[in-house]
């Protein structure tokens, strides 16, 4: 039965050839040294290489597009330079999960030899690449991933964030609802996964601290629930005066539409974390989203000069309004620019040190904010979905003041 012949050897050769595909990028040795790249040059000009790792495929692809646009817009407006360094950007696809995100970060670090990594939507990826950055002593600026641990319990000096934390956004809503007449009953629900748990925890903590009472909770299966009727009926029967929820992407669309279809929208007001109505989900929700109120650190409707200019140039360039994802990445470029003005070198320690000293970012579209530790202390806004000139927008209702990452 055995017929080893020439073709198997060919196959083995093929195996060898195939295995060598990724090698084409660079030759060298993987043995010796701790994995650090070439020592970075001093502060006197030259180039800084940035790996922009954002989703180009999968369910977060739309976020990736917004992020890349925010990045390119800032660079376009500022001559493509951070301090005296010319910025060279390498884009890599984060994909949907750490299965794709981790290799992408590894690729820009090890194969493209970037000095700084920017991006990341998925929290698991941001947490999972911590050791890569720590060991190579390179800086990562997270422009979305909201897990508290990234800059909290599992923090490393090399990972900073220009976005938000899940609990920060929902904590603001907890305080607000406790103060606005819903003390005696809110129903809280979020998908059954880590971010959902964090959002609910952040909300519950401040809501109860303000004297509020959560009358019921539910955890719909994450990514597998397309019918929320059983949960909606529970909300109705719980006697809740309001609903607080966190959903994003297709789940946000489905939930908001069904909330209206099953008649809850007119009787039990819907509140949520800002992602419920942010970005590309809002047009798909349509009129079902009208009146939904959310908290977030950004809205394209914010009335400040920096945001007006940002929205105007963004819309002129890309034909649509920016989302918080665009603003977060725009700000990442902004803070890196400030840091590289003073940083003595391009290694993670030098840039991290410089980032700690940039003070208030006063020209951010989201309003002035500062780094508290490695994550923003920023204003949170109460927003309400309204129709302006036939388009649904997140109108800013109230400024809820500055908040940092809750402990």
């Amino acid at each position: 039965m055995e017929h080893p012949s020439i073709s198997r050897r060919r196959l083995l050769a093929l195996f060898g050839a195939a295995a060598s595909v990724p090698v084409l990028a660079a030759c060298g040795s993987s043995v010796g040294g701790g994995g650090g790249g070439a020592p970075a040059g001093g502060g006197g000009g030259g180039a800084v290489k940035v790996g922009l790792v954002v989703p180009q495929s999968g369910v977060y692809a739309a976020l990736g597009t917004d992020m890349q646009r925010g990045w390119e817009l800032w660079l376009g407006q500022n001559g493509g330079k951070f301090g005296n360094y010319t910025v060279e950007t390498v884009v890599a696809d984060e994909g949907e999960t750490p299965n794709t995100g981790q290799p992408a970060v590894q690729k820009v670090l090890q194969s493209d030899n970037v000095d700084v990594v920017v991006g990341l939507v998925n929290s698991a990826t941001a947490l999972g690449v911590a050791n890569l950055l720590t060991e190579s002593k390179k800086l990562l600026v997270v422009t979305n991933a909201g897990a508290g641990d990234v800059t909290g319990a599992k923090r490393t000096p090399y990972i900073w964030r220009t976005s938000f934390t899940n609990a920060q956004v929902s904590a603001a809503m907890g305080t607000h609802l406790a103060q606005s007449g819903f003390k005696d009953g809110v129903f809280a629900l979020a998908p059954d996964y880590a971010a959902g748990t964090e959002v609910i925890a952040g909300f519950t903590k401040t809501f109860e601290a303000g004297g509020g009472k959560v009358v019921g909770t539910a955890k719909p299966a994450f990514g597998k629930t397309s019918d929320y009727q059983p949960f909606l009926t529970q909300i109705q029967q719980s006697g809740a005066k309001a609903t607080f929820c966190f959903f994003s992407g297709s789940e946000a669309i489905t939930f908001v539409r069904q909330y209206a279809q099953f008649g809850l929208a007119s009787t039990i007001p819907l509140y949520g974390s800002g992602f419920l109505t942010e970005g590309n989900v809002l047009p798909q929700q349509g009129d079902a989203a009208l009146g939904v109120q959310t908290t977030l650190h950004y809205s394209d409707q914010l009335d400040n000069p920096a945001n007006k200019a940002f929205v105007e140039s963004y819309t002129a360039k890309y034909g649509e309004s920016p989302s918080c994802f665009s603003a977060q990445t725009y700000d990442a470029a902004n803070v890196l620019n400030r840091a590289l003005r003073t940083a003595t070198a391009l290694d993670g320690d030098s840039i991290a040190g410089a980032l700690g000293g940039i003070g208030t970012v006063e020209d951010s579209p989201r309003g002035p904010w500062t780094f508290d530790g490695q994550t923003p202390k920023q204003n949170l806004y109460l927003r309400k979905v309204e129709k302006v000139n036939g388009t649904l927008v997140n109108a800013v209702v109230q400024d809820l003041g500055q908040q940092s990452q809750p402990l």
């Binding site: 195939a18 990724p22 692809a61 698991a124 060991e135």
Partner: protein
Amino acid sequence: MTAIEAPTVPGGAPASAPRVTRARTGIIAVAVLVVLAAAPFMLAPFATTTLTRVLVFALFAVSLDLLVGVTGLPSLGHAAYLGAGAYAAGWVSINVTAEAPVPLLVGAGFGALAAALTGWVTVRSHGVFFLMLTLAIGETLQQLADTWETVTGGANGLTGIPAVRLAGTPLANAGFTYWYVLAVGVIGFALVVMVARSPFGAALRGIRDNEPRMRALGYSTARYKYAVIVMAGAVAGLAGALLVAQQRLVTPADMGFATASFALLAVIIGGAGSLWGACLGAALVIIIRDALGPSLDGHGTLVLGIVFVLVVYLLPRGAAGLRIYRRRR
């Protein structure tokens, strides 16, 4: 080393192979091993890491091939056991010790345990039924990993896993990790080959080819199937421990439908039943996904799907069947 690379053609009796052939096979096997062992000296760290991923996935595919190719049990839930081993190895590395054999043994043990706890549901089924039941089991275990946040970290994954330590020294760089994975992978591969060539393996092939006859011959086929499911689970768990050594992170995505179906693709592309073919298939899958995918706008899956469909048509025995075709011509 001869035993390791000799292909196990379906129904073939490797021991009867002519001496010259065995020698040639041995030479090829040694050559491949030497090239693999020397790779980190020649490759940049990212290429070495990619090759490490190939090795991990190859061992996983080989463990699946023990079910699919050798026993004829197509599983779409095998990634669950990879995940069980990975989580267990990761947990032990964080909370107890990352000293070398411990995570491996724990990983293999938990892979086997998970397979033992769930496998009994499937032993009376076969063919597409087995496919569906294992799919359901895989989905359920993945959900468990997603929900059980205190142990698994939920969707954020189990992070902060320390590097494997060998005699007290952590394997901090890509090259050393690669050798560690290679060494363990070769041992795992050898174990699977030994199982496949043993009388037990012959009985498994008997079940694959004609289960009722085996039953008539007095074999308790359900017991054999249960045993091989647990063994495959153990090897998958071992691969899980290697996965942790390489990526130092486990998430529910590692044990999902995508991982399971990619492994099945690897096995079929390589030729079900051919253990080295499974390695070849695994290499192709990982290279398309990790090295080519990013430059195809994330459409690596499209390429994989097309390759897969073509292989099913053109190479009924997968890449391993190539030479048979040639011979007939």
